[in-house]
């Protein structure tokens, strides 16, 4: 069982993610996770007022089922397939995190400093999570896709627009961790 509970090697993980995309293509669909955000907005009936949400979202029901499966998968992986050696990141990275006041992983997937239960008492930390989500939702729709739609699906199909978006993702990410993190943490 050790091979299941340890951190999966990048080559196996990457191969399986590629296969997930190919499976969806074989089912006559496409691999894109941020589209579900648009579908979820449309579910509220807001399409009557904002035309962007007045589309054939019912044809995207299958994608919400993928999301449901992914949520169950996350639950199973965290509760039944994890061990304490997980998330062994580079020791240098841990030192950098220490300077920012962010706790080391020690087997955790996400830091308590940003996601722990204490944040419920910190308006600033709640704001950071909502704001980060806002940038993800706004940016992925503006760019027409996220990591699954552009980085994996688009680049696999040699789409030049996806390359622009992915370079944009990395410029944004580098600005955030190098210039904005020291200001907010």
């Amino acid at each position: 069982m050790n091979f299941l509970t340890q951190t999966w090697h990048w080559s196996i993980s990457g191969f399986l993610i590629g296969m997930v995309m190919l499976c969806l293509i074989y089912f006559g669909k496409n691999f894109g996770m941020s589209t579900n955000l648009r579908t979820l907005c449309s579910l509220t009936g807001i399409g009557k007022r904002v035309s962007f949400f007045n589309w054939d979202w019912k044809s995207q029901r299958w994608n919400l089922v993928v999301v449901a499966g992914a949520m169950v998968g996350g639950y199973v992986a965290v509760h039944f397939l994890s061990n304490a050696t997980n998330v062994s990141i580079n020791p240098f990275t841990i030192l950098k995190l220490q300077k920012l006041g962010i706790d080391a992983p020690n087997g955790k997937l996400i830091p308590d400093a940003i996601f722990g239960s204490d944040i419920f008492y910190s308006p600033k930390k709640i704001f950071l999570l909502v704001f980060g989500g806002f940038l993800i939702g706004f940016g992925s729709r503006y760019a027409g896709g996220c990591t699954s739609g552009h980085a994996i699906s688009g680049l696999s199909n040699f789409q030049f627009p996806s390359l622009k978006a992915v370079i944009g993702f990395f410029i944004g990410g580098l600005i955030m961790v190098n210039f904005i993190f020291p200001l907010i943490f």
């Binding site: 990457g14 499966g69 995190l97 939702g137 940016g139 994996i152 680049l155 627009p161 990410g173």
Partner: protein
């Protein structure tokens, strides 16, 4: 019954992203610090697998599950939307350490504070939809 295959694919996706630790804030930070090959390896292997699969589909005119010829639509032309939208997405990706897939996966795994991220992402999507026609694409 038709939908079970999507549930299964989603399940595999959720397990793989969690076990690859691609849902981990730490791995995203480490990636943007260029301190590890792990995330780059995952993304590159996924793309190489995808390139090979899509080339096979195109060369051999593979049909989908319903017997229709598979056609993969290209992305719309555009410049501004990809650079600026991409950059905004990247800022958010690095801040909360998750892209849309991992947001759902982490909530499913029981990390309730990620619900704030989902709320923000839905709000961001709504604001984009509201101002879409006024934005340069």
């Amino acid at each position: 019954m038709n939908l079970i295959k999507y549930l299964l694919v989603g399940f595999v996706f959720g397990v793989v992203l969690t076990k690859a630790e691609a849902v981990s804030w730490y791995r995203i930070y480490e990636m943007f610090q260029f301190d590890s090959f792990h995330m780059y390896g995952i993304i590159m292997t996924a793309i190489i697998t995808g390139v090979i699969g899509i080339q096979i589909i195109k060369r051999f005119n593979i049909k989908d599950i319903k017997g229709f010829l598979i056609e993969i639509l290209g992305k719309e032309r555009g410049t501004f939307r990809y650079w600026i939208g991409g950059l905004i997405f990247g800022l958010g990706w690095a801040l909360v350490g998750s892209c849309p897939g991992p947001i759902y996966i982490l909530i499913g795994a029981g990390f309730m504070s990620v619900g704030f991220v989902l709320f923000g992402a839905l709000f961001g999507t709504f604001i984009y939809g509201y101002f879409k026609d006024k934005l340069p694409h």
